[in-house]
Amino acid sequence: MDCNQVGELAPLYLTGELDRERAGAIDAHLKSCPSCMCELESQAQLDARIREVIGGEKVDAGGVEERVLARISAERLSIVRPISERPAPLHRRRWAIAAAAVAAVLLLAAVSYLDLIRRAARVYADAASDHRREVIQQEPRPWLSDRAAISELAEKQGIAPSALFALSSAPYHIERARLCFLDGKIFLHAVYTDGEREFSVYFRVRGDQTLPGRAREIDNGRILHESTLGNQQVAGVQTKDLTVMVVSDRDSDDALHVARLAAETL
C-alpha cells in the first residue's frame, strides 16, 4: 500500500470501518512511513479535540422537547375536534394531552428499544466474526481442551460445567474452550465437533440482560432468536441462568438445532 492509498482510505481507517486486511496493510505502511504516521496522528488528535470541544458544548434541548410534546398534543386535539365544532370539554382536552404524552413516550421508548436491537445485532455480528476467525480460519489461540480445565474455566465464570457438556449430543462432543469478548462482554467460547464439522457455542451468565432481536420460534417456552451473517448462522436463546448463542455454517441447521437443544435441556 502506498501513501496515496493510505490517504484515500484514511476516513474509513479513522472510523474503524476497514476490514482487518486493509487495516493491517495501513498499519504496516505506517510503521515504515513516518510522514503518513505523523499525518494520521495529527488528524486523530485534531478529531479528538473537535469531539472534546464541540461534543462537550452544553446543549439544553428542554425547550424543544416541551414544544414537541405540546405540538403532538395539539395534533391529537385536532383529531378529537371535528366531532364537535366547539372546543372539546376540558376533561377531554386533558385526556387528549395525556394520551399524546403517552404516545410520545411510547415512540421514544421504541426508538431506544430499536437501539437495543442494534446492540443485540452487534453481539451476533461479533459472535459470527469470532467463530469465523477462531474456528473456520483457525487463527492460533490458546485453547483449553482438557475436560477438567474447561470445567474450572466455566465455574469461574459462574457457568455450570454440566451446561457445556449437555450440548455434547452425539455425534458432536466439546473439543476446546476459551474466553472471548463479544460487544465488550466476556463470553465462554466452546467449540464442538463431530470430527469433521465444527460449531461454536458462546455462554454467559444471564444476569439482568435479555437477548433482544427477531424471534424465530418458541421452544419450551423460550424464545429462539436467529440471525444470518455472511456465511454464518447465529441462534440465541436464554434460559433461566444463561445466555447462549450458537454459531454454525449457514448451510447447516446446526445453530438452530443446538439452540433448540439448549432451550430444552438447560
Binding site: G7, E8, A10, P11, L12, T15, G16, E17, S35, C38, E39, E41, S42, Q43, Q45, L46, D47, A48, R49, I50, R51, V53, I54, G55, E57, V59, D60, A61, G63, V64, E65, R67, V68, R71, I72, A103, A104, L107, L108, A110, V111, S112, L114, D115, I117, R118, A121, G213, R214
Partner: protein
Amino acid sequence: MPHSRSLLRVARRLTLNSAAAEDIVQETFLRAWRSFDQFEAGSNARAWLFRILFNVFYAQGRKARSSARVVPFPAPESQPRGGTDFSALDAAMLSAALDDLSEEHRTVILLAVVEGFTCRELAEILSLPIGTVMSRLSRARQSLREILEPPAPRLARAQASAK
C-alpha cells in the same frame, strides 16, 4: 428525548442560528412521530433521526441556512506544518474555524467526528455514495487544518495575490 441534544448541537452548527436550529429539531421529532410506521425495525434509529433532520434542513431551503459569514476568521499564528500538536488547541479558535467551513464540509465533520457516525452511516443520512462521503470528509479535514495551520508560504502568496 433520545438524541435531542445531539440533533440540536448539529442543527445549531449547521444553521449558526439557535432559533432556526430549534425549529428544525422540533420539526424533525414531529416528522419522526408522524412517520414512525415507516421506520424499519432493526435499522439504526439514531441515523434515521439525523436523516430526517437533514431532510428538514434541506427542505427549508436557503433562507434557514447560514448566511455567508461577514467576518472572516482571523488567521492564527503561523505554525510548522505536519505533526502539529492539536491536543491543546484553543476551543474558541476551533469553534470559529469549524463555523468557517463550507456547509458541506461542516456537515461531514459534525456527523463523522463529533457524532461518531461511520462513513456508511453518513452515506445513508445524506443520501450520498460512500466514495463521495470519503472524499468530502478528507477535503473537510484538509480545509479545517488549512485554517488552523496555514503554511507560511501559502499565506504569503495569498496576501501577495490580494494586493
